[in-house]
């Protein structure tokens, strides 16, 4: 441990202040360790912590009852009420006309809606931080005929803990949230989760 620090073993004739060399160097090593240990720990903490995506979070709502809502429809008159859809699988998709990944996922949503609508599955687009005109312009441009709803004051988005768009929730027939995904949803994810939710409905 004290190899190579032999110069401290030199005899210092008139320096009674310095203790014996060996004890001194051991103490110095201890001081170095005392300083380095917290630094190394801190570096490890940063290395693991900074590598994480702060937005990659499991939803708090999985397995819990879906927050209810009654929202004005955008593409037609009237309102759409989640309570009326009990017993059905509901895909709630938060989107906005200004959101680029929402364009990417449009085809996947259209395909899932086309494939499952006859089995009682409802796809519902909920507009997020958008104007009515822009939202309807998006629908005119990309087509599609699943219901769209407005969300005044973002109350439903807040109730669902939405961080940004797009986010997609699958609600099981028993009214609980079966799955959630952040970012552009894929057709594979939608079919997997919708099939799973339909099976859970058949078991009951």
């Amino acid at each position: 441990m004290s190899a190579g620090i032999d110069e401290t073993d030199e005899v210092r004739v008139d320096d009674a202040v310095e203790p014996a060399g060996r004890g001194h160097s051991r103490r110095r090593w201890r001081a170095v360790a005392l300083v380095l240990a917290p630094l190394v720990l801190f570096a490890l903490l940063l290395a693991t912590g900074l590598g994480r995506d702060p937005r990659e979070l499991p939803s708090e709502l999985i397995g819990r009852p879906a927050p209810t809502f009654s929202l004005p429809r955008l593409d037609a008159g009237g309102t759409i009420d989640l309570g009326d859809l009990h017993g059905q699988v509901v895909v709630v998709n938060f989107w906005a006309s200004w959101c680029v990944p929402c364009r990417e996922e449009h085809d996947a949503l259209a395909a899932a809606w086309g494939r499952y609508r006859d089995r009682g599955v409802v796809v519902l687009g909920v507009s997020f931080e958008d104007t009515r005109e822009a939202a309807l312009g998006f629908r005119d441009e990309l087509k599609g005929d699943w219901p769209l709803a407005d969300d005044p004051g973002s109350r439903t988005a807040i109730a669902y803990g939405v961080f940004g768009v797009p986010e997609t929730f699958v609600i099981a027939p028993d009214g609980t949230i079966a799955a959630k995904t952040t970012g552009a949803v894929t057709y594979e994810w939608l079919t997997d989760e919708i099939e799973g939710a339909l099976r859970s409905g058949n078991v009951e």
Partner: protein, 158 residues
């Protein structure tokens, strides 16, 4: 205990007292009075979901504005700040809280600075104590010569 050691211990104790006083002052900063202040206080403790490291109170984003409205609505309905925070935690998880709730492993970030301060002072005091007897002991030959030399220097200048 030599005079020098004693003064070090006094300084160390003073630092600990000041740090604890500051900690207590920041913890119990009284109830905000107006309604807006109460809304602001709750919002300041919540992280804006669509921003990076901005509180709901400080963020100019529309969603944060709507969350402030939600806080106002719930406060008017007579819900307590704790209930309102719980409402957001239920939906967004503990992620939404800007400071971690004080229980379990979350106590670590609260405890580490205090433990570190106490440990640091302890190490420092130990260090000073170990060194102190050497300076407090007999004056060595070199030191004696140096003192005389410097005293003579002083007298020359004076």
């Amino acid at each position: 205990m030599s005079g020098r050691t004693r003064s070090f211990v006094v300084i160390a104790a003073a630092i600990v007292v000041v740090a604890l006083a500051a900690l207590m002052a920041s913890a119990g900063s009284g109830q905000p009075r107006t309604f807006d202040e109460r809304v602001h206080e709750i919002g300041a403790g919540l992280r804006c979901p669509v921003c990076l490291n901005l509180s709901v109170a400080d963020s100019p984003s529309p969603l944060a504005g709507e969350m402030r409205t939600e806080i106002e609505t719930q406060l008017r309905a007579g819900r307590t700040p704790e209930q309102i925070r719980a409402f957001f935690v239920d939906r967004y998880g503990a992620w939404i809280l800007l400071s971690p709730p004080r229980h379990g492993w979350n106590l670590l970030p609260w405890a580490v600075p205090i433990v570190g301060l106490v440990a640091g002072v302890a190490v420092w005091v130990g260090f000073v104590r170990r060194r102190a007897p050497r300076t407090a002991g007999e004056v060595t030959g070199t030191e004696h010569r140096r003192i005389e030399h410097e005293l003579a220097d002083l007298e020359e200048r004076g």
